[in-house]
Symmetry: C2
Subunit: 303 residues, 2 copies
Amino acid sequence: MSGRHSKHDLETTPDDKLLRKLEAKWEDSPTRVLRWHKGLDVRGLDCNSAPGWDGDKDDGGALVAAHAEELSELQERLFADGRSGGSRSVLLVLQGLDTSGKGGIVRHVVGLVDPQGVQHRAFGVPTAEEASHGYLWRIRNALPRPGYIGVFDRSHYEQVLVVRVEGLEPEETWRAHYDEINAFEAEVAAAGTTIVKVALIVSKDEQKARLTERLERPDKYWKYNPGDLTTRARFGDYLDAYQELFEKTSTDVAPWHVVPADKKWYSRLAVTELLLGALRSLDLGWPPADFDVEEQQRLLAET
Amino acid sequence: MSGRHSKHDLETTPDDKLLRKLEAKWEDSPTRVLRWHKGLDVRGLDCNSAPGWDGDKDDGGALVAAHAEELSELQERLFADGRSGGSRSVLLVLQGLDTSGKGGIVRHVVGLVDPQGVQHRAFGVPTAEEASHGYLWRIRNALPRPGYIGVFDRSHYEQVLVVRVEGLEPEETWRAHYDEINAFEAEVAAAGTTIVKVALIVSKDEQKARLTERLERPDKYWKYNPGDLTTRARFGDYLDAYQELFEKTSTDVAPWHVVPADKKWYSRLAVTELLLGALRSLDLGWPPADFDVEEQQRLLAET
């Protein structure tokens, strides 16, 4: 780790100046800017906007690159803490319709940190075994262990999204999930997990452009599924479901962040900053030695 | 993916020329250079050497960087293949004594590809549940699913390393593991997994320097364990165990690669090239569409 040469040094380097200049392009903390709040209607969101960011695409990419080292160091501190008996972890929950860029977030943002410290899980249609349990069973099994960053590509929220829109459960059943999910997340947070919930919101037009590209490029066919059109036909119903989901499950302990996703560079910047904010908030130092350092130095010198 | 602009293009770009110049610094295929062969005695290995590489540290780093894109594209092809019904996967088995750099390989080499396509698992002292099963139980459970690159940080080989050196099983028991492991790996390979076994060999002097650094830097205390000195006291016994392990389990279907690990840049270069070689050997194209592309284009256009 090269954290010794990071912004915590006393001297100011040219890199520090650049970093501060880029950070200043956030008009407010990205966590505050993106957090869902009463009155925010996702159906009226400008998906091509870059809320809170007073810079362009290049600036955004530069800040992600400039924050990579701190992100990586904080992830290592979290990992070290977990290995030393700590109970903290971070869980990034990614939701979004097809083509909203969840995969790109994992590749380009989560990919900035050491894969040893990441527990990634994509949730698709439940397997037979999964379906034989309650919907939170497979979620509980995939929760990050202490020291890890967990990443959920889709999650328990499908139970109030696809299940609702496709009518897979009666309304009274899926409606009960809001409270169940809030109780579950409160329990997870109390056990030491910082939950970062992100909804990537792509516009219907941009989705069309991205699906069209998948059908034009043979190296993207595998990402396309005819069922994507069925989902697309219910685009408005999904937005309704997202809106209610925000209203019912954006809690103090696990708030939602609504990220416009038509500009990939912006959504990647936004999630980098949300993840960094979560790691910074843990305020972890390096674990102290649980052995006598001088004694070990002496013993090692003798070998 | 930007594979469209890779070395497969017809035009030769300056990047291609640099890449070819760097690749030519391998005197022979790294897979051949590093593969264990009869007569190679690990106890006489020059751990500070860079076998087969006619370049310096900067050249090595440049080739890793230049190969990152191809590695990433081939990983995505493997993933696409797995999603499309293919059965192929890759398993990177990393063995090495404390401080040999296994973690650095995961961070810097495995970290070059999309974390979505990686199943990483570190094997420590077996848990109570693991210990209640045979030693291959937890290994089987962690095998990569089709489409994935599995990474084992330590593995079933501990059963003929620490178990042997520390006398945790009678000799006739651990000796039986060589054949069991060969049979197991033959079965895994037959099911579609390309196995890449890498032993990182650090010298006793370099290990001392690395342990000393861990005891001098508070941000590294967490990586140090007084038990490391116990293992270090048996350095020669471990090398004997490695030597026999190579002799007994380097098979055609799952050969060992012996990588001198005193130069971190070299071991990272070597493992990058071994992983790339394994992915190239799969010779995977992009999966064909399993739907009518034109029909889907027409249906999408209507939405």
